[in-house]
Every structure is written in structure tokens, then in C-alpha cells.
Subunit: 126 residues, 2 copies
DNA sequence: CTTTACCTTTACGTTCGCGTCAACATCAAA
DNA sequence: TTTGATGTTGACGCGAACGTAAAGGTAAAG
């Protein structure tokens, strides 16, 4: 049985189990440039940072981001070059995302409200 | 120019313009059984109720529902038959949806928080 | 040494949500 | 009457996000 590879690293199926996705999905995200684990031979070895990154990816997915969007946002986090124009552009993109998320949340709230109301109507009929 | 067809009905491109989708999209939703406007000859004629229904569909889409899910939810609204077992099943599905929406909202809040934080970091660098 | 349980790559298949012609009808304005 | 503008029904196409074999490597356990 899996003897704990090395205390702070995970196999692909460790992460798959933990986050309830398939290994295929995780490999696909790697193909798409979203994550880049180390290799031990040919096998993938995920660090805690990789694990956190995957969590971010999956939360992005949960809020409806396309994978390309997620990759872009993750790239923004990279503190690579800090030219002023770049930073301003990044800021703009980031704010646009935030605005979209606020609207989406409003839509969710409205939907929850309607469904709650509907539940109440049904409950009344019982 | 379009002289107002009849006060409370709309053409497909009226709705397309109003909701910023293409006519193709609206027809597609009809193919999928999400909406069923009347016909004036072969042309579609949307009532206010149809318009409201389309709004519901699009908000469902905005919160990430699949079209099949939206159809199911719209079907639940139909007050057709009221067998007790049916009502209970409907109630369950409805509550499950609500729970999922709450989780999704939490994910959105967390993402907003992180992006806000990130914006602040960038702003500090400027 | 063989089995079991993983891992790998390659590659074709599938579902969803439309986009994009094509070919045709209708109706009002010029 | 010709010309748009708008409507219609197919039907094929496409990108996204994986699913699903197929074929094989590796390492520990029996």
C-alpha cells in the first residue's frame, strides 16, 4: 500500500481522490499549461504548492471560469516582470473579473430566492 | 420600420436584442424544449410570459446551469399533476439545487476576496 | 517470477452550446 | 416590380472539457 512517498508530496491519484476528479482531468490541466508538477522518472510528483494550485484551479472551475481564464489569472499571480503598463493592464483585468463575479453572485442570490419561494409553495401543499 | 407588432408580443430579434443573445440561441433553446412561442404563420411570436421565461433561462445559464437542468427546473414550476410523491421529489431536487447554489456562492465570495487582495497588492506597487 | 497496483503516453470519441452557411418565404418601402 | 430586411428550416462545423480505450513501463508483494 502507498507508504507515504515523501512527506509533502502527492501522486496524481492522491490529488484525484482528495479533490474528487479523475487523473485524466489533472493531466489535461497540465496539457493546458495550468500546472507543472515535478517528475520522479516519468511519474508526476505534486508538491504542496501544486496541490494548492490545483485547488485554485478547481475553485475557478466551480465559479464558471474557462480553463484559459484560469490560466491567465494564475499567470497574473506570477511576480515575474513588473513593468508599469503590465501592472495596470493586470489590474484592469482583475477588476473586470471581480465585477463579473459580483454580477454572477447577484444572479445566484436571485435564483436562490426564487427557488426558496418555490420550495415554500410546495411545502404549503403538503 | 417595425411598427409594434401587437402591443404585448415580440419577435425573435426583439428578444435577441433585448437580452443580447443571437436568434440562433433562442431557436436552439426551443429545440431543446426550453421555450415554445406561438406561431404567426411560420414566424415565432413571443408573449410576455415567453419573454419572462427566456429571462429565467438566461439567468439560469448565468449561474452555470446546464440547459437540461434549466429545463428540469422550469418543468418543476409547471403546476401539472400534484401527486404527493412527486411533490416530495420536486422539493428534494429544489433543495439540492439551493444547496449547490450556496456552495457556489461561497466559492465566488472566496474568489472575489482573493482577487481583491491581489488588486490591493498590485495597487501598492504603483 | 508472476501478479497486482499503480503510473505513463497516444489518440480517437463524446457532449454541450451554440456559430455559420445555404436556400428559401414574406412583407414593406422605394 | 425590385430590393432589402426580416423571418424560416436544415445541416454541417467547432471549441471546450474531458471520457475512454489501447498499449506499455515500474515497483512492491506473494
Amino acid at each position: 500500500m502507498g507508504v507515504a512517498l515523501q512527506n509533502d508530496s502527492f501522486t496524481i491519484s492522491d490529488l484525484a481522490r482528495e479533490f474528487d476528479v479523475t487523473s485524466r482531468t489533472i493531466r489535461f490541466y497540465e496539457d493546458e499549461g495550468l500546472i507543472s508538477p515535478e517528475r520522479r522518472g516519468s511519474a508526476r510528483l505534486y508538491s504542496r504548492a501544486d496541490r494548492a494550485r490545483l485547488a485554485w484551479i478547481l475553485r475557478g472551475r466551480a465559479v464558471g471560469f474557462a480553463l484559459a481564464d484560469i490560466r491567465e489569472l494564475l499567470d497574473l499571480y506570477e511576480p515575474g516582470r513588473a513593468r508599469r503598463g503590465q501592472l495596470e493592464a493586470t489590474l484592469e483585468k482583475c477588476r473586470a473579473r471581480i465585477n463579473a463575479l459580483h454580477e454572477q453572485r447577484d444572479a445566484i442570490d436571485a435564483t436562490i430566492a426564487e427557488l426558496d419561494q418555490f420550495c415554500a409553495t410546495i411545502t404549503a401543499k403538503l
